[in-house]
Symmetry: C2
Subunit: 452 residues, 2 copies
């Protein structure tokens, strides 16, 4: 086999008219995501880059790239909007970075299902759907820059998960079409349960070329900020809203003081010292929502139709991983964690942990449905002291029954709640990427098939 530069040259030749970028600055830019949220990952990933950038426009380009990488033994890392937080699309072993953002067509929309190409931006998808009365069930806080494929391959849920649960719940991914990485790539359609083989696999289990997604009613959503004297009140009110099945909602986010101090543009809605509850509520459910808030000591400080147009900042850009970003924008000495509270006593556990850590953590929670039950995700923001202390904090959470999806590691296994690879994904990888060329280093349990 040729050495890496030789192989890359042959590969580029094989790609024919598929757009290729070799300018190192542009390649490097497209080899990064928001891994710098983590000082640990920043150290590990800051100098990593691919060798060449390929810009797929359609499935034919994807097939050509997959075939060329397989033939020349070159690693292939697929990339969407680059909005991940743990280096999901960082090419640890270099090679080809396959940018999917130009592959962004909607194949069809029929009632409560849409089928689209992976590169479509999530806000563009919803813009097309909403005039027909439908929208995506859930999206990350990066909706305005993230791609559909990147969300499914690198994300887990987000705005909307308080109603629909995460992408992992049965029914939240209708189907996926993937291209295998082989000299003669095959196309595989994965439907229903089988589609989970590509969910949050960081693009290690085939190259997604189409996604069929179930939809939800396009309510007129209202951004609401509620101020409370304590995080305990914000949590209990959030719990009441989350459990009010008659209140149509998309977001229920308690955030503890002093974190809102970093929400500069929301200053008028965030009185000094207040803890907040950020919500998206269907217009027709506002009145019962206000009743819940009123009886639980909340003061509504902001109420406005969700506005996602350029120049506007939708409230969801203060939630999920954007909460962390609001702090990091001005002070990179902070970092964060990703937690899942036990459904049976989520709020009580959260209050206990707040007491335990005191000022070391700034509390941030997201109510979500998980396995058919309402619970909370936790994304506390903390001042980074050392890797050792971070690992101690994680151990303390785990010792108290809180599951941790560690966002300071790059492998699927270490970042999962169960610290192991999904068995289906591991098995499927053997079928679609026998040589282990897809995003190598991310699924560390996988041992490539030795070609005899």
């Amino acid at each position: 086999m040729l050495d890496r530069p030789g192989r890359l040259e042959s590969l580029i030749r094989d790609l024919g008219d598929v757009p290729v970028v070799t300018d190192p600055l542009r390649v490097r830019k497209k080899s990064r995501d928001f891994f710098w949220y983590s000082p640990v990952l920043n150290e590990q990933l800051k100098d990593v880059a691919g060798d060449v950038l390929v810009e797929a426009r359609n499935e034919q380009d994807v097939i050509a790239t997959a075939a060329a990488c397989a033939r020349h033994g070159v690693p292939l890392t697929v990339r969407g909007g680059g909005t991940g937080n743990y280096g999901q699309c960082v090419p640890l072993q270099g090679g080809v970075v396959l940018d999917m953002m130009a592959f962004d067509t909607i194949e069809w929309h029929r009632g409560d299902v849409v089928r689209a190409a992976p590169g479509i931006r999530l806000n563009k998808l919803d813009e097309a759907l909403r005039p027909n009365g439908w929208e995506s069930r859930m999206h990350p806080s990066t909706k305005r820059t993230a791609s559909l494929g990147g969300f499914i391959a690198g994300g887990s849920g987000g705005v909307g998960s308080v109603t629909w649960g995460g992408l992992v719940e049965p029914g939240n991914i209708t189907a996926a079409r993937v291209v295998t990485v082989e000299p003669e790539p095959r196309i595989i359609e994965l439907r229903a349960d089988a589609a989970q083989k590509i969910n949050r696999a960081y693009g290690t289990t085939g190259i997604i070329t189409a996604l069929e997604m179930p939809l939800a009613a396009a309510y007129r959503w209202i951004d609401v900020v509620v101020a409370f004297d304590s995080i305990a009140e914000a949590l209990r009110c959030g719990e009441a809203v989350a459990h009010a099945d008659g209140v149509a909602k998309k977001l229920v986010t308690p955030i503890g003081a002093p974190l809102p101090r970093w929400f500069t543009p929301l200053k008028d809605a965030a009185p000094e010292g207040a803890s907040l509850l950020l919500c998206m509520i269907a217009e027709g459910s506002l009145e019962p929502f206000r009743d819940i808030v009123r009886t639980r000591g909340g003061r509504i400080t902001h109420e406005q139709l969700t506005a996602e147009e350029p120049g506007q900042v939708p409230l969801y850009e203060y939630t999920w991983n954007h909460t962390t970003l609001q702090v990091l924008k001005t002070d990179r000495s902070y970092t964060y964690l990703q937690l899942l509270y036990p459904a049976a006593n989520a709020v009580e556990t959260a209050l206990k942990m707040i007491e335990k850590f005191g000022d070391e953590l700034m509390p941030h929670f997201e109510f979500i449905r998980f396995g058919g039950r309402m619970t909370m995700s936790g994304l506390p923001v903390l001042r980074y002291e050392s890797r050792e202390r971070l690992w101690e904090i994680i151990a303390l959470y785990e010792a108290n029954g809180v599951m941790v999806a560690n966002p300071h590691v790059v492998t699927l296994e270490d970042g999962s709640r169960h610290k192991r690879a999904n068995a289906d994904q591991l098995g499927f990888k053997r079928e679609v990427d026998p040589a282990g060329l897809l995003n190598p280093g991310k699924m560390r349990s996988y041992v490539p098939v030795t070609v005899s």
Copy 2:
């Protein structure tokens, strides 16, 4: 004061051009509902009738009737489609029966909220909404004959409650407008929490003249029947479907053998000896639904778009209180109960009770959300032996942590899970019906205000 006949004559005179029916046969027909589901109630109510039937066409007619009844001290019982099962609209003390079915306009529909008159039939309401992409969040199995006002005043939930909970959950009734029963009737608008004052009060707390209701997305619903070898399997599969937050659903109904024997038109879908799971699933969620069924030993025996047109029988007419009706249609020696299982161990408790009662009960469950948690309602069908045995069975359920809303009593208090009147409703009644003329005998805790 005049005697009853004299007062009625004066009352009719006062009504002017409001349509009045005095033909005893027609009045008697409109004084009844499905109370004959209960042998106990049948004995008690079979000879009860109003004195006169008033057919309201609009709010003016309602106000005229309320004023006349107040002035002449005549009881006033409001009636919708007459589809209740516990004599909700049976005029225990005679007087005026106020039929609202001709008062059936839609005031407006804006996005996820509709405002309509109480007499509109629920299927007519949905027919108007669905072309705009919306529909009622929930409806009783009597959707094709029941009125909106009757559902809110006499019902509790139904098809759709597996997603939205019951009418009692905050947000499931947006607002209600009521007319008071006084010589000079007033109009009161009840919004959000306050609207609960008329929910399931059997028309004792004011006469509803408008309802504002929150809506849900009008999915294309698919009726699905799944056959199992045992009720335990049907329950466990139902539980998995109910907890699958990504599966959009409107109905999840486990029914144990031998009950499906009475579902004659569904014979081909109900193999002899099988227990069934009857579901309504959004078309886009069918594939993940089938995956759940397949891994839990179910065989899909029927799958068809829900058809509600005349000549069709939608699957929901085999669920909720229609399940009971399918049996009673051919054999009135049966009756039923209404139970609420504890959310923490609903299926386990159900299986324990099935074992305890053996052949005495035919199991029927409805998965519903209640207080933000998934649980089950139970509507077992049982051969009626005696009132004493019925009361024993109820006591046995209660001793095992199952709440009973006794459908063999006519008062709100005895029929509620908590055996007492809702405090808000009791207090509100003093404001809107001081003399206690509205459906007298149903809210037994109420002591009329003595006019000095």
